[in-house]
């Protein structure tokens, strides 16, 4: 037979009166136990992670110090001119004005006439997105001149910015053709990572910039041949 237990308010009162001295200590123990399990123990475990983080941070601080030291010692104007000459040499997009300027300059130096040229620029409305491969603008030129003149033209173009690559030359009795590729490459997105050491431009890079600064390139409005007045040709070094 089922036994029925009835707990009324009086029973509860009785029990409370009888056990009330135990209630607070028991609550304290339970709370302490919960604190220990839920907060203190995980925090102790987190100490290991914190230790690793501190170790990482102290090495990161060294990197940050070096980076700060390096960046604070750089000159804005030097960097600006370096970036300028390098982006003129290898544009980030289809720099058809630079191309026309380079051809114009090379033809004037070589004393040849560019009879006609065909520039395959393509879509200008969309910025190139592939930052991993070189893109190029192909150009076919009909040039009037002797082999020597064509050679002078190629030579001048070789040392003119933006950088170009002659892919074929055809010299005939009446006219000659030169096929040239002008390369460009978009810049990849610059990502900041404070833990990564920043390296200065290596000596080989500075030599390259120095070499490029001796090339012919149009800066602002005038085309500057090799060893011209230094006022308009910026020497980044």
């Amino acid at each position: 037979m089922e036994k029925r237990v009835t707990i009324d308010i009086n029973t509860l009162k009785f029990l409370y009166e009888r056990q009330k001295a135990f209630i607070i200590p028991v609550i304290v123990i339970v709370v302490c136990f919960i604190l220990l399990l839920k907060f203190i123990m995980p925090q102790f475990q987190a100490l290991f992670t914190l230790g690793r983080e501190a170790k990482k941070d102290s090495s990161r601080i060294n990197v940050l110090k070096n980076n700060l030291n390096l960046l604070s010692n750089l000159s804005d104007s030097t960097l600006d001119s370096q970036v300028q000459i390098l982006t003129v040499a290898l544009p980030t997009n289809k720099d058809f004005i630079g191309i026309i300027d380079a051809i114009s300059y090379a033809s004037s130096v070589a004393g040849v006439n560019v009879a006609e040229f065909q520039l395959q620029i393509g879509d200008l409305s969309q910025a190139p997105t592939d930052t991993s491969a070189f893109s190029s603008i192909s150009l076919n030129l009909s040039v009037n001149g002797s082999v020597d003149d064509i050679n002078k033209f190629i030579k001048a173009l070789y040392t003119t910015l933006p950088l170009s690559e002659v892919t074929s030359i055809g010299v005939g009795n009446t006219s000659s053709t030169v096929a040239i590729n002008f390369s460009y490459k978009p810049l990849p997105p610059v990502t900041y990572n404070d833990a990564t050491p920043i390296h200065p431009i290596p000596n080989s890079g500075l030599t390259l910039i120095n070499k490029l600064s001796n090339f012919n390139y149009k800066f602002s409005s005038s085309f500057e041949p090799i060893n011209s007045s230094p006022s308009s040709v910026i020497n980044p070094l």
Partner: protein, 187 residues
């Protein structure tokens, strides 16, 4: 002689001390309460001690000075972001330009070398340079300068400047009295 059962029970009840039992129970309860209180206090002390130890270890392992130094360095670096970007652009361009320059062929040098020893009596009728192949047609009124020019090309081959030198054709135009020679040269 044994007493009857009712008399025995009467004697037993006289011996039971209810007051003592109550005291023992109370004593037990008090002892229990004291133990619980001690346990509560000990747990409190344990929690406090562990928290203090945690705080101390936290500070010891990852000191505030380290955080402050890191934050101040990051703040300092944020003012040089422009320079960092310019440096990244420069590095990227240098890498790509080097690659481009390495694969670029200076045809003007090749042409110059090719015609360095060209006798003046020789006319260049056609020249086609495509990647590593040169197709050349020259003409002259005499075979002697042509021979001289071919000798110059053989010399280039001996210097490993050219790998293949093929004489494609040699013809004579009776009307104009000129010799015409075609070559294929591989660089």
């Amino acid at each position: 002689m044994q007493l009857p059962l009712d008399l025995q029970l009467e004697d037993m009840t006289k011996d039971i001390n209810f007051l003592t039992i109550k005291n023992i129970q109370k004593k037990k309860a008090r002892k229990g309460l004291r133990n619980v209180r001690v346990a509560a206090i000990l747990s409190l002390i344990l929690v406090v001690l562990l928290s203090a130890a945690l705080f101390y270890l936290n500070r010891k392992i990852y000191p505030q000075s380290l955080k402050n130094e890191r934050d101040s360095l990051l703040k300092g670096l944020s003012s040089f972001r422009n320079r960092e970007v310019k440096l990244a652009i420069s590095s990227n361009r240098i890498e790509n330009i080097s690659e481009l320059l390495n694969k670029r062929v200076d045809y003007s040098k090749i042409v110059s070398k090719f015609f360095e020893k060209k006798p003046s009596q020789i006319n260049i009728d056609s020249l086609r340079i495509d990647k590593k192949t040169i197709l050349l047609t020259i003409s002259s009124n005499s075979l002697e300068p042509i021979n001289e020019f071919i000798d110059g090309l053989i010399e280039l081959g001996q210097k490993k400047e050219i790998t293949v030198l093929l004489l494609d054709s040699l013809s004579l135009s009776e009307a104009s009295g000129t010799y015409s020679v075609s070559f294929t040269v591989n660089l």
